[in-house]
Amino acid sequence: MKQVVASLLAVLIMAVIAPSVVLAQNGPLRIEITEGVIEPLPYAVPDFVAESAGARDMAQQIARVVADDLTGSGLFREVPREAHISQITSFGSPVQFADWKAINAQALITGAVSSDGNRVVVKFRVWDVFAGTELGQGMQFAGTADGWRRMAHKVADQVYSRITGESGYFDSRVVFVSESGPKDQRAKRLAVMDYDGANVQYLTGGNALVLAPRFSEDGQRVLYTSYETGMPRVHVLEVGTVQSRILQGQEGVMSFAPRFAPNGQTVVYSLTQGSNTDIWAMDIATGGTRQLTSAPSIETAPSYSPNGSQIVFESDRSGTQQLYVMPASGGEARRISFGQGRYSTPVWSPRGDMIAFTKQNAGRFHIGVMRTDGSEERLLTASFLDEGPTWAPNGRVIMFARETQGAQGSSSLYTVDISGRNLKRVRTPEGASDPSWGPLQ
């Protein structure tokens, strides 16, 4: 696989760009991401300036990806280019703030692209139009031509971060299961893509059934379940080399539902012995295992807290699937879900403050979030079959799979923000399920 990370050389503060103006604490150009954010902030992003002959197309495309990222977040609204009064023809020229105020663009993003052979340099500035100042400092990114989308995502992450005060999530990837064929003959392959569905690359061939890939915290490895041996077994795949191997030391009949600990050294997973499924932990280097639950019921879908001290999981020990939290070393578990229906696939948020889950109630499926003690449950979606949430690296957005009903039903990926707004489908070449959102790169 192309190692894009290596090609993206560095993030350089441009000394040539004028010194920054510190944004006033209560300046107008600020989005506080709270429940109350309903009105997106209007901004303008004209085509970036092509500073070399071959950079023209890329200069336009980068501005479009920046706009897709920002508008797609639901926090920003683009002022259409047709409404622009000023044109940005030179990256260094003064900004005509009055022209941007007139169309109510509160933020303005200007940029320039130059290319020299395969090497591309992208630079940008963010302007607080109504204050008439630059927001933060100009920056530039250098990379190869085929990494242009990543540079665009990095620009958008900077804009998002400067205006919201929180880190972005655009320059990130998602590993998922790509699906083709009808329900009774469905072929599944592991694939990885940019968060927005671009640059899909397949990681397995599709001969063996594969399920539920999970990124490591650094995005370098993927755990997944494969039927390659005829039985479901946990495998680990190095993303850089696309080499995979079965994890040694798995006992029992089947093992599945793996997830990395934050340290990347330990893997938790479900192991089936006889009729019983419990949660186990394995040291990935030594293969040494340890049983964490020992109830006669089904214990599965474990997920670590970001500090690695606790594990949230689902169990039907009460008679129906519910969510429980236990110490990472095993031991007594505390039930946290008490609402109507069945709760499953819990995932701890990267901020540590919430747990996302799947809920089945009254014939419908929901994606929801709750605090880690089970309070403040909030359902974000409802459909025939929503399943398997995964958190954006900044903990503000959740991706999940939605399967449609009936013989022609198929699965697609969707995102929704944690207030339940901005439900969007992620475009993928085929059907898609079991997303796992990797880190900000």
Binding site: K188, F256, S275, A301, S344, Q360, Q405, G406
Partner: protein, 172 residues
């Protein structure tokens, strides 16, 4: 002529099956054996030969069905499995892999575990009735391998199943 004789046998098999499985759950008499057993697998021999895998699949019945979220064997399921026991004891060269399945109403990991419960319930029953444990093993496919693809109970009832796949030779 031979062909028509075979068809008659097959129809007889279906009739027995439909009778056996009638009113197992609310969905009534389902042509269970009308569906292919293990997807795409060839079944050797003629259904008229009582020692053939085809006879096991079509006449004895290679599968049992389960209620929603349950792994308990119903009386009719046990009757089918009693037939499987007799067949396996008579045909000692064959081993069985029991595949457990769930319908699509449930999350992926849970359905894998639920399918395992169902397959294990069948395996334990077969062993309790005398089939040597070393001739049997099980695997769960959860909701990954439905045989019926509509999204209502008529299909779900057939997908909540444990299927005994027999083959000559050693189990893994």
């Amino acid at each position: 002529m031979r062909l028509s004789a075979k068809l008659t046998m097959l129809m007889a098999g279906l009739a027995v099956s439909a009778c056996t499985n009638a009113n197992r759950f609310d969905n009534g008499a389902v042509d269970l054996n009308a569906a292919t057993g293990n997807a795409g697998g060839f079944v050797a021999g003629s259904a008229s030969d009582p020692s053939s895998p085809a006879y096991f699949q079509q006449t004895i019945g290679d599968r049992v069905l389960f209620a929603v979220d349950q792994s308990t064997l119903s009386p009719s399921a046990r009757a089918t499995l009693d037939g499987q026991v007799q067949w396996l004891l008579t045909n000692a060269d064959y081993n069985g892999v029991i595949e457990g399945h769930a319908d699509e109403q449930g999350t992926r990991a849970y359905n894998l575990a639920l399918g395992a419960r169902r397959a294990n319930a069948v395996m334990e029953y077969l062993i309790a009735q005398g089939v040597p444990a070393n001739r049997l093993r099980f695997v769960s496919y959860g909701k990954e391998r439905p045989i019926e693809i509509c999204s209502d109970e008529s299909c779900y009832a057939k997908n909540r199943r444990a299927v005994t796949i027999i083959s000559a030779g050693l189990t893994g």
